[in-house]
Amino acid sequence: MPIRSFRQTLPRYEELLAELAAELRDPQERADDQHPLILVDTIRQTGTQHVYVVWTKWPHLSSQRERSELIMEAYEKAKGVQDALKVVSAMGLTPDEARRMNIEL
C-alpha cells in the first residue's frame, strides 16, 4: 500500500468568489451541494437589501466577516457597484447555521 502525503482540498477564496458571482449572474433552479441558496430581503421603504447566502462550501471560512466581504465582492462583480451598494447586510451561512436561525431552506 503506497503512503502518500495527506492533502485536503478546500475551495479557495477566489474560487468561492467566482462561483458565487456566477450564481448571482445566472441563478440555478435549486440549491444543492454545488450551488448556494441566495435569499434577498428587500426593505420596501428604503430599497435596501439584506442578503443571506446559504452554502455547503464555506464551513472553513469560519469568520462571518470574511463571508460577508466575499458576498459583497461577488455581488459587485455580478451586478455592479450601484446594485451592491443597496445591500446593507450580507450574511453567509452553512445549511446547519441557517436552520439554527430558523431560516426556511
Binding site: 466581504e69 466575499l70 458576498i71 451592491a84 450574511m91
Partner: protein
C-alpha cells in the same frame, strides 16, 4: 465554559456594542484617573470606535439586535466608494466620514451643518491620537493627548443619540 467559548457562542450584536461602550468608557476613565495614559487612551479609543459604528449602523436602519459582522462587507464597499481606508474597520476617520456621508444622503444632516462639522473635527482629533496598533508600543502619550481623547469621546457619548436620530 471558558470566557472565550462563552463569548464565541453568540454573535456580536449592536446591543452588545451599546453595553460594551458604556462599560469601557468608565473603565477607561478609571485608568486615566490612575495615570495609566496609554491604556486609558487605548480603551477610550475603542469606545469612540463603537459609538461611531453604532451611530452609522443605526442611521442605515439596523436594529439593536442586528449582528455586527454581516454588516461589515457592505461597509467595505461604501468606504471604497469614498476612497476611505478602513484600517481593518478600526479607522475612526473612516467611520466618521461614512456616518457624515450617510446622514447627508438620507437628509438627516443638521440644517446648519454644525453637528457634522464638530463630528469631523472631533473624529480627526481622535484619529490623530488613537491607533489600534498602539497596544504593542510602550507608553509615550502625553497628558494633553489623554485629555483630548477623553474630551472627544465624551462628546461622542453625549451626542450619540443626535448622531443617528
Amino acid at each position: 465554559m471558558a470566557l472565550r467559548s462563552r463569548l464565541r457562542s453568540s454573535p456580536e450584536t449592536l446591543q452588545d456594542f451599546e453595553i460594551a461602550a458604556d462599560e469601557r468608557y468608565w473603565e477607561a476613565m478609571e485608568l486615566m484617573l490612575a495615570g495609566r495614559k496609554a491604556m486609558g487612551i487605548y480603551l477610550m479609543g475603542y469606545v469612540a470606535e463603537m459609538r461611531l459604528k453604532l451611530a452609522y449602523f443605526r442611521v442605515i436602519g439596523q436594529k439593536s439586535t442586528a449582528e455586527v459582522k454581516p454588516l461589515l462587507g457592505p461597509v467595505r464597499l461604501e468606504a471604497a466608494q469614498l476612497r476611505l481606508e478602513t484600517e481593518n474597520y478600526h479607522s475612526l476617520r473612516c467611520w466618521s466620514e461614512l456616518l457624515i456621508d450617510k446622514r447627508t444622503a438620507l437628509g438627516l444632516a443638521s440644517p446648519s451643518g454644525q453637528l457634522e462639522t464638530t463630528l469631523r473635527r472631533v473624529a480627526n482629533t481622535l484619529y490623530d491620537i488613537w491607533w489600534v496598533e498602539m497596544r504593542y508600543r510602550p507608553d509615550s502619550a502625553t497628558e494633553d493627548e489623554m485629555n483630548s481623547i477623553f474630551d472627544g469621546v465624551s462628546w461622542l457619548d453625549r451626542n450619540y443619540m443626535s448622531l443617528w436620530r
